[in-house]
């Protein structure tokens, strides 16, 4: 009996470890808060993610765009100083991807945005996230259930490249 409960406890520990490793909300090189930029400053999503309606990829802002305001705004904060160092040393900022699809998936942001989807439908309330966390499982079932509900194509070749 003890052994049985021990095994179950180990399994639970394993699940906890797996959840930890799933990287739902990884630490980022600069603690960029979407709360301030999206909610307080009301920047639209495509102010930074400019390719979201013209390309497969949403893209991220070049560091120059960040500096266009942060050359003078909030420069006393440590995170802004980190950002400035990246810019001056011309070092690339390696953000840890939160929404990452495997290579065999073709996902086009352009098509989804043009279909009228709001960013929050897949990415959640980004404006409320101090640290971005993944709100969808990104598993195939998650995608297909929405396609099924909205009458989007369910042909395998639509997404499997």
């Amino acid at each position: 009996m003890i052994a049985y409960f021990g095994v179950v406890f180990l399994a639970m520990a394993g699940l906890a470890v797996a959840w930890q490793q799933a990287g739902l909300s990884p630490d980022q090189p600069i603690a960029f808060p979407h709360t301030i930029h999206v909610s307080k400053l009301s920047l639209p999503c495509n102010f930074c993610h400019i390719y979201v309606d013209i390309s497969r990829h949403a893209g991220g802002p070049p560091v120059e765009k960040c500096m266009s305001c942060h050359k003078s705004i909030a420069t006393e904060r440590e995170e802004i100083r980190k950002l400035t160092r990246y810019y001056e040393e011309k070092r690339p900022i390696e953000w840890n991807r939160v929404y990452s699809l495997p290579d065999h998936v073709y996902f086009s942001h352009k098509r989804h945005v043009k279909a009228g989807l709001d960013c929050s439908e897949c990415h959640g309330m980004v404006g409320a996230m101090k640290k971005i966390r993944r709100v969808g499982s990104l598993k195939m079932g998650w995608c297909v259930s929405c396609h099924r509900a909205r009458g989007a194509p369910r042909d395998c070749a639509t997404c499997h490249q």
């Binding site: 705004i73 960013c119 966390r133 969808g136 259930s145």
Partner: protein, 434 residues
């Protein structure tokens, strides 16, 4: 202004109220329902076994059980139906949707549950009258039990969607989105708990009544004790499996360290129940019933807290968003009050521009001093009142003065550009004319 799909935004306090209210309601309702389901199942089972073995003690046990479980019609109503009406109200408030599907779903649950209660009550009454039952009556009881279990399954499905807010918009389209693996697992988890708690309550409440002296012998007590203990132990073995499956099937956003801690607590408590029952076996005096029931209630609390934590995690962004919105609204209200002191009819149009200015431009611009960009009292007059020229600049800013950083392209919609441009020109005229 992002919304919750088609849902009516609530305030964070209201959401908090709903969540805690749900917790309380579930605590009362499910404990009652658990004993009801568990007890009725065992009762029917005893009925069947009694007929097979021709042992009247089984039948007596069955009778005693039904008496204990279904205290009265009013109890059924208060603990059985009223809580669900409350839950229905919660859903109605949270899921204010265009589609009637969620309403219909809950109506079906209530109807089936009522039917089940009625049938079970009839069975209890028949059970009360005689030891030997007509097969029809037992069948009716079984039907009632099945109806209750079915209603509970649908309830689990409805409960399950709380953990996956991403599904809320999809619920309007097809009813099938109510079902999920998590719902099935939660159903089974709670069923396991029901049987366990029934076992504990059997140990506690049955086999010791003052009335019904004949037949209340050691053999009968032993039967009761055996049934209760075995049921409880079986449940505690099965419970962890479903708990693990629950952790596996919960959507990732619902998980957090708290959820795992509460799950571990459930595990430990189940182990405690097991140990209690094993260690007290054969002692016979007093019985472990009270301890077991207490532990089961703690288990139930832990399960509900686990679920509550999961719901909290799933909704944390949405609630944070509401909180921020509320803060913004209060700030707006404050400013609104301040503004109304110096309001005039013509200013309504520039108010929209003022909103834009305060939200977007004020981060870098003031009228009288340099912040990031130049003081607007200097810049705006250079446009000579030409709204279109100013709008063009705001739409696509170019570097004018190398002494200031470049103004970023803000991607504002046309109406906002128009409003803020007019506001700026009007405001600056006012300032300079003062």
């Amino acid at each position: 202004m992002a919304s919750w799909g088609n849902l009516q935004p609530l305030s964070p306090e209201f959401y908090s109220l709903l969540r805690h209210g749900l917790f309380l309601v579930l605590f009362l309702h499910l404990l009652f329902l658990g004993f009801l389901v568990g007890g009725s199942t065992v009762s029917l089972l005893l009925n069947f076994l009694g007929k097979e073995k021709r042992d009247p003690s089984y039948l007596r046990f069955s009778q005693e059980l039904m008496r204990t479980v279904l205290i009265s019609k009013s109890a059924l109503f208060i603990f059985g139906l009223v809580p669900l009406l409350l839950v229905w109200f919660v859903y109605a408030r949270v899921l204010f949707v265009a589609s009637p599907l969620p309403w219909q779903f809950w109506a079906v649950i209530l109807a089936v549950l009522t039917l089940g209660f009625v049938l079970l009550f009839l069975y209890r009454q028949a059970r009360e009258r005689t030891l030997e039952l007509f097969p029809m009556t037992a069948a009716a009881g079984a039907a009632g039990l099945l109806a209750v279990i079915l209603a509970f399954f649908l309830f689990s499905a409805g409960y399950g969607i709380l953990f996956n807010p991403a599904k809320l918009p999809l619920l309007q389209k097809q009813i099938r989105f109510f079902l999920s693996w998590n719902a099935v697992v939660k159903f089974l988890l709670f069923l396991a708990f029901f049987f366990g708690m029934t076992g504990g309550l059997i140990l506690l409440l049955c086999g010791r009544s003052a009335e019904g002296g004949e037949g209340m012998n050691a053999g009968y007590r032993g039967l009761v004790h055996r049934f209760g203990a075995n049921l409880a132990i079986l449940a505690t073995f099965v419970l962890p499996v479903f708990l693990l499956l629950d952790l596996v099937t919960l959507p990732e956003i619902a998980l957090s360290a708290e959820v795992f801690v509460f799950s571990a607590a459930v595990l430990l408590l189940s182990l405690a129940v097991c140990l209690t029952l094993f260690l007290s076996d054969g002692k016979g005096k007093g019985g472990p019933g009270g301890r077991v029931v207490f532990l089961f209630v703690l288990i139930f609390l832990a399960i509900l807290l686990h679920d509550d934590a999961a719901v909290g995690n799933a909704y944390q962004d949405r609630i944070a968003f509401l909180t921020m919105q509320k803060a913004a609204v209060t700030a707006e209200a404050g400013k609104e009050a301040h503004r109304e002191e110096s309001a005039s009819a013509e200013k309504t149009e520039t108010d929209a521009g003022q909103v834009v200015f305060e939200k977007i431009c004020a981060g870098c611009h003031r009228f009288d001093i340099r912040v990031v960009g130049p003081p607007l009292n200097e810049r705006v007059p250079t446009y000579g009142g030409d709204v279109e020229k100013l709008k063009a600049f705001i739409r696509a800013p170019v570097k004018v003065n190398p002494g200031y950083p470049s103004m970023p392209k803000l991607g504002l919609p046309e109406e906002e550009i128009d409003a803020v441009a007019r506001y700026l020109i009007a405001h600056v005229k006012e300032e300079t004319s003062k």
